[in-house]
Amino acid sequence: MGMMSSIAMMLGREPGGRLENDQVDPEAAAIMEAKFAKGTTKERRAKLKAEHDAKSSHKWRNWRWFSIIVVNLLFVASFQWDVQLIEGSLTASRVFGFHFADLNAALQVMLAFKEVLINLLIGTVTVFILWWALGGRTFCSWVCPYHLLAEWAEMIHLKLVKMKMVVDLPLHRGTRTVLYVVFVVLALVTGYTVFEAVSPVGILSRALIYGPGLALLWVLALLVFEIFVSRRAWCRYVCPIGLTYGIVGTTSPVHVKYDIVNCLHEGDCRKVCMVPHVLEVTKRGHAAKVAQGLGPDCTRCGMCIDVCPTGSLAFEVRGLNKLL
C-alpha cells in the first residue's frame, strides 16, 4: 500500500478490500499459496491459539501504561517538588530548559493569534522532530493521559458489549478530518483557540499538575459516551491532536511491521485495535507484499503484537538493521 493511500485511509477513506492477483507481489503470492497448500489451517490455528493463550502476555500494554503514568507523573512531581526539570503541561513545556510545544496546541495558537514567537517555533520544531523519530501517533498511546482513561473505559465497554448490554455504534472515520478543518477554520476566524476549550488532553494534563476543576466533567462525559455508545469515539473520530501526530508519523522510522509468512489471518489483532483499518492488510488476500508497515494512523500501541498468536506483527525501526 502506498503512502498516499494510507494517508487517505487515515483521513477517512474505506480500506481497499481484497487485492486482484496481479496486484500481489509474486513472492508474496507464492508464500500465500504454500501456506495454505498445507491445509489443516483450522487445527494449526487452534493449536497456536492455545499455545499463545497459555503464555498470554500484555508486555507492550504494560510498558505503555508505565510510560503514560511516568511521563505524566514527571510533570506533576516536577511542579510539586519544584524540581524545575519539566515545567508546564502537555500543551507546552520546558524540558531541561528546552522548549516543547504540542503541535496541535501550537497550531491553534498560531492560527488564532496570527503571530509566531521564536520560542513557540523552536518548541514546535523540537516536538515535530521528536515525534517523527518516535513514530508520530506514538504520542497518543505512550504519553496521552486521555488514552489511558479511554483504554479503561474501552475495557468496560467491551465487557458490556459481551454481556449484550450495549452495542458499539461506530461513526464515520472521516469525521475527524472534517472536525480538524472546522477547528482550524474556527481558530483562524474567531481568533480564539476554540479546540483547547474541549481538549481532554490539555484539560487532563492541567488537572493532574495544577489540580482538578469543573473541566473534568467534560472528560467524564466523553468517557461515558465511549462506554455506553461508541467505542473509543474521541480518539477514533474526533481528536485533531491524533491526526496531527498521525501526519507527523507518515514517514517515521518507527512502525509496526506485518509479515505474511506465518499469519493465519485469525483477525485477533483487528479486534483489539483502536484503529483497525490499519490492520486491513492482515486479512487474507489484502497484502501486496511479504512484509509491510502499518499505516500512519497506527498509534504503535503494540496491542496487536501482544495478541497475535503467530508472531506476524512486530515493532520495527526502519534503517536500524542496516546501521547495526
Binding site: Q84, L117, V198
Partner: protein
C-alpha cells in the same frame, strides 16, 4: 452483519450495509456537531465577560491574550508566591488561561524580574516588559471609602487578614529574598496604611491627610499613575470586603 451482502435483494431497498453507513453518518454529524457546539459555548463567558479576570503581568489585550496563550501553566510554576491560577470550564475560552486572584494572593513582584513573562513560551505575556514598573494589569481604586480604616481614622493591631489567611508577601525589611506568610507579620499601627505601606511600586499609593488638624488622624488612600494593578493593596486591606480593589485592565486616565 457479515453475510448480508450476498442475500439481500438488489436495488430498491438499500442494503443493510448502506443503511448502517447512513446511520453512522447521521451519528457522526450529531457527535461532531456536539463537540464543535460544546467548544463554541466557550464564546459566551468570554463575550459576556462573566468572569472578569486580573491577568498576570505583561498580558496582551484580552482577546489577543486568549488567542496567544497556549494554556500550559508555565507562568503558574515560576511564580514564587503562587499568585497565578488557571481558568476553569466556566470561563469558556479562558479554560487553562492564567489569572491572578489578588484578594487571595496578589502578585507581589518578589520574583523581581517578572518571571511569568520570561516563562511564557508564546508571548501572551509580552516579553516587551522586564521591570515591575512597566506592568499594566489594572488600576487600584478605593471602591468602599466608608469602610476604609484610614478614612475612619482607625489603626490596625495584629495580622492584616486574620489568622487563617494563606497569602504571602515579601517584606523587604524582613527578608529581601523570600516572601513570608502575611499571618507571620502582625502590625501595630495607630492609623491603617497597609495599602500604601506594602505597595511594591514606589509612589503608587499614598495616604493623604484629610485635613491639617493634627488631632485628626484620618487619611485618604490616593492612587497615582504609577499603579500597575498588582493587587497587593487589595490583598492587604484588612476590611472585608476590601475597601480598595484592582479594576482589571483599567489604566490611569481612563476615568
Amino acid at each position: 452483519m457479515m453475510s448480508d451482502t450476498n442475500t439481500s435483494p438488489p436495488a430498491k431497498v438499500p442494503s443493510r450495509r448502506a443503511r448502517a453507513a447512513r446511520r453512522a453518518f447521521i451519528r457522526s454529524v450529531f457527535f461532531g456537531g456536539t463537540v464543535v457546539g460544546a467548544a463554541m459555548l466557550g464564546f459566551f463567558p468570554v463575550k459576556k465577560a462573566w468572569t472578569k479576570r486580573l491577568r498576570p503581568p505583561g498580558a496582551l489585550d484580552e482577546d489577543d491574550f486568549l488567542a496567544a496563550c497556549i494554556k500550559c501553566g508555565q507562568c503558574v510554576q515560576v511564580c514564587p508566591v503562587e499568585a497565578i491560577k488557571l481558568g476553569d470550564l466556566d470561563e469558556g475560552f479562558g479554560v487553562g488561561v492564567p489569572f491572578v486572584g489578588a484578594r487571595d494572593q496578589a502578585c507581589d513582584f518578589s520574583c523581581d524580574a517578572v518571571q511569568c513573562v520570561l516563562a511564557c513560551p508564546t508571548g501572551a505575556l509580552t516579553h516587551e516588559i522586564d521591570r515591575k514598573e512597566q506592568v499594566t494589569m489594572g488600576l487600584a481604586r478605593v471602591t468602599r471609602p466608608n469602610a476604609c480604616l484610614a478614612r475612619r481614622g482607625e489603626g490596625i493591631k495584629g495580622t492584616a487578614r486574620g489568622t487563617d489567611f494563606d497569602g504571602k508577601l515579601r517584606y523587604m525589611e524582613v527578608d529581601r529574598w523570600t516572601p513570608i506568610p502575611v499571618t507571620d507579620h502582625p502590625y501595630d499601627l495607630d492609623l491603617c496604611d497597609l495599602c500604601a505601606r506594602e505597595c511594591p511600586i514606589d509612589g503608587a499609593i499614598t495616604i493623604e491627610r484629610l485635613n491639617l488638624d493634627l488631632s485628626d488622624l484620618r487619611g485618604d488612600p490616593v492612587v497615582f499613575d504609577k499603579c500597575v494593578g498588582c493587587g497587593v493593596c487589595e490583598m492587604m486591606c484588612p476590611v472585608d470586603p476590601p475597601a480598595i480593589v484592582v479594576v482589571e485592565r483599567l489604566r490611569y486616565g481612563d476615568l
